[in-house]
Symmetry: none
Subunit: 225 residues, 2 copies
Amino acid sequence: MRILLVEDDAEVARFVKKGLQEAGHTVEHAANGRDGLFLAASEGFDVLVLDRMLPGGVDGVRLVETLRGQGNRSPVLFLSALTAVDERVKGLKAGGDDYLTKPFAFAELLARVEALGRRPSAEVPTTRLKVADLELDLLSRTVTRGGRKIDVQPREFRLLEHLMRHAGQVVTRTMLLEKVWDYHFDPQTNVIDVHVSRLRHKLDKGFDKPLIQTVRNAGYMIRAQ
Amino acid sequence: MRILLVEDDAEVARFVKKGLQEAGHTVEHAANGRDGLFLAASEGFDVLVLDRMLPGGVDGVRLVETLRGQGNRSPVLFLSALTAVDERVKGLKAGGDDYLTKPFAFAELLARVEALGRRPSAEVPTTRLKVADLELDLLSRTVTRGGRKIDVQPREFRLLEHLMRHAGQVVTRTMLLEKVWDYHFDPQTNVIDVHVSRLRHKLDKGFDKPLIQTVRNAGYMIRAQ
DNA sequence: GAACACCCATGCGGATCCTGCTGGTCGAGG
DNA sequence: CCTCGACCAGCAGGATCCGCATGGGTGTTC
């Protein structure tokens, strides 16, 4: 996990950085708010660990507010000697996700950092493909166009999926044979043509704009007109 | 925001519920783990606030583990009188997202709950379900146990999916007929038995721990032993 | 321990579904 | 006009899938 630590106290910083690294994470360290902001804004981190009070104009709260203002949603854990409830509330309200007061047990810091990093921000797998008004839902194996459900066969589904994953690019017959049919040779028949035809028939029935274009001597391409 | 509060202490529950409601949130309350699990599994909440220790078999940690096993990723805040670092770490490691010790200031609870709810995690569709070493990938329509791929028929897949979505709960025959077969009547045959049997055969071949348990006169249940 | 209800496993047969091929037609490009 | 690539309707073999019936277990109740 990539973690950014912004902490001015060299002693604390060393201690935290070492521990996180030993737990298998990558840690970048900045000693003041300005550097921290720069790093956080330019690189992608899974979790930010920020000291609440920092030297220089940019303290922890400012830093988070700025990041959030830029649309950066990285989870933030505040680390602070300010224990008052009001301070904690302020940190959370500013956009922090957690708040740990010094002194703290490293085990808890680690657990909290990992809890923050556990969030599904990183790996959101694509679950639906979309080209113009045509949608393909990988989860339910469902195809809809303009909201109307369209029944397709498994092979047709694979074919369409492959086309849509390469929307706007020409897909050659050889690629299709490889990826959709698992043929590693030329079957010497027009299987592909037939399936493309069937697919077109289903997709375009009742619509005017055809979606699948043939590219002569090359293959097929799907594209939002 | 929709919040589920699972807390057995009536006094605390009333206090928290009232406060959250006054802050403009909708609060459901369950007084024990079993009810809490049921609610959390059947309805969608933005945040779960769980007492760490609960009467009855299902305590806070068990509850979270079960939910996470079902692929439910709702953020969880633990509320507990157990202040030891080890306890806090345990709660977070189990899948909790935050941990607040009693007594607490309501302002801080509110700030933390709102910080949790702020996350974009709410509507990430589940793409894989897991129970013990059995995994079901909705995207690829694939079932694996202990890393080994298992081929299942469509109907078997739906059956298994439904069981896994309700892991740890008994699933009645009527529910299965409704949800898996779309029958709204009793077909007077043993269709279900047959499919459960086939599924068991495939899932348990080569493993020792059986996964699907039958609950006499009630239905079936899948659970990590 | 007998009767009963419930549950399990297996084999079978029908139905559906799926897919690739053929063969004839069309149309673009030269 | 000729040729080649692309298109499409229909067909038929096969595979898959699914539900049912049957007969055998197992736990429960009286």
